[in-house]
Symmetry: C2
Subunit: 253 residues, 2 copies
DNA sequence: CGGTCTCTTGACCTCTGTCAAGTAGAGTGG
DNA sequence: CCACTCTACTTGACAGAGGTCAAGAGACCG
């Protein structure tokens, strides 16, 4: 794999990737898995940069990311943009809207994306009927929170080089949770400007940082595209530990 | 944790502050409120800086913050500390432990605190029996996530002066949600070092920033203690908007 | 009254931001 | 196949916010 826009199966089991995501941290009996795959949905394709949910708006459905990447962003009064979360294939994008009517941030497609739009009604019925699914969904939300805390540490306390290396490690680890095969390398689908908004830096400084990382062989750039070249080296630079991702870690009770 | 010999109390007066916190964003019928106040708990007092939950550890109870302040913190490999959340009276501190067994961060008392320790068993029973309570708890978790995203914006994209002003506004707004009277002024119970770890800055620069804010009359310092002097001025400096706190905003469905 | 902790301040340094010009691909149209 | 254009990337020179170091001053405490 390593191809971020790898086409998904179109045999009617599109939601299987959501099940796979939930299984990466929660246990789900077969019946619950089937109930998830039986959710009603409509598929929608959006081009890069199109808006999925606007800050302040309301929706009556939750999107599941079937393929491609998306992100949450916020703007400061001075016009600065901060990307506050990155969503990878299999992630539910907006479960929050089931509980909080107004969006506190905007949600946008990073690449071309395919979404499965699941009506709130169907979600509410499923969560009420199947506690194990409800639990898995809560765990998913909690893990997103944990990732957010790691990002606060990353942006607040690590320098540019370490910060970028840490993010790239996280990206690979997260993709591996839903990937068919183990990923060691990857073409990163972010522009330097997006990377800058993600890391709390400027595009110019991202450029310098990537150049430095390329110099150490951690990263490669071919035809303006960023590739992970040496994941172990990146992990070493960032002192990366994946504990905060809580893989297979949700059997408390 | 969990004093083995401390008697479990069912004195609802103490948990009323938790009910008040939940009511600040969710609707709860009287029966649900009573069920919350009927939760069994033991009271525990900790001094400033004592640890409530250590990173990597497991617990069998969730703490509710009855009085005082607490915080979540993470350490980077280089030794930097980042405070990733601040908890105020009425906040549940560790609901996450109901769903994720290992703590991904540490939880510490900022001031002297009083905690109500509620056993997981009792929580699970309550959440299973009372969907409205479960819903309110999920909303509480989601709002903490929203605050975390605002912090990412704050640390990633605002300069020191604006950043500190924004945090102080948030603090006052959050305290007002459980306060008896409207707060306009406040003695901030944080050392400059803690403020630095909160803001992703150094103590020295916090000192300079506070001096500047004092110069504009936004803040006052008497006997080394920081006070909010002019909340409107702070809100203006930070272009503060409280939408992300989702006050009285949880009637989706 | 000495010890300790936090705050304060100045001098200096460096990481990251700003500005501005230039380059390389990808796409478009002739 | 070649301009032309657009966008993203690249680079250098310079600026500045914030970090580092170090010394001193107030508080608080036993």
């Amino acid at each position: 794999m390593g191809e971020p826009h790898a086409p998904e199966r179109r045999d009617g089991h599109l939601l299987r990737i959501l099940v796979k995501k939930l299984l990466s941290h929660s246990l789900l009996p077969a019946e619950d898995r089937q109930a998830i795959e039986a959710l009603p949905f409509t598929v929608r394709t959006l081009e890069a940069n199109e808006s999925i949910v606007r800050e302040g708006s309301r929706t009556d459905s939750c999107a599941i990311l079937l393929s491609g990447f998306a992100f949450r962003a916020k703007l400061s009064a001075e016009g600065g943009r901060q990307i506050v979360a990155l969503k990878t294939p299999g992630d539910p994008l907006d479960l929050q809207s089931l509980f909080l009517p107004t969006a506190d941030h905007s949600l946008q497609a990073l690449t071309r994306v395919e979404l499965a739009l699941v009506p709130h009604r169907a979600w509410n019925a499923l969560l009420a009927a199947r506690p194990a699914v409800a639990r898995a969904v809560v765990v998913d939300v909690l893990i997103e929170g944990s990732i957010g805390r790691e990002w606060l540490l990353n942006i607040g306390r690590r320098d540019a080089r370490t910060r970028v290396a840490h993010f790239l490690c996280e990206l690979v680890h997260r993709l591996n949770r839903v990937a068919l095969d183990r990923i060691e390398t990857l073409e990163v689908p972010l522009t330097q400007e997006q990377l800058a908004d993600l890391m709390g830096l400027t595009p110019v400084h991202i450029n310098r940082t990537l150049k430095a990382l390329e110099g150490e062989g951690a990263v490669a750039r071919v035809a303006r595209r960023l590739h992970i070249a040496d994941l172990d080296r990146l992990a070493e630079i960032a002192s990366f530990s994946s504990l905060y991702l809580h893989g297979h870690d949700a059997q408390a009770g």
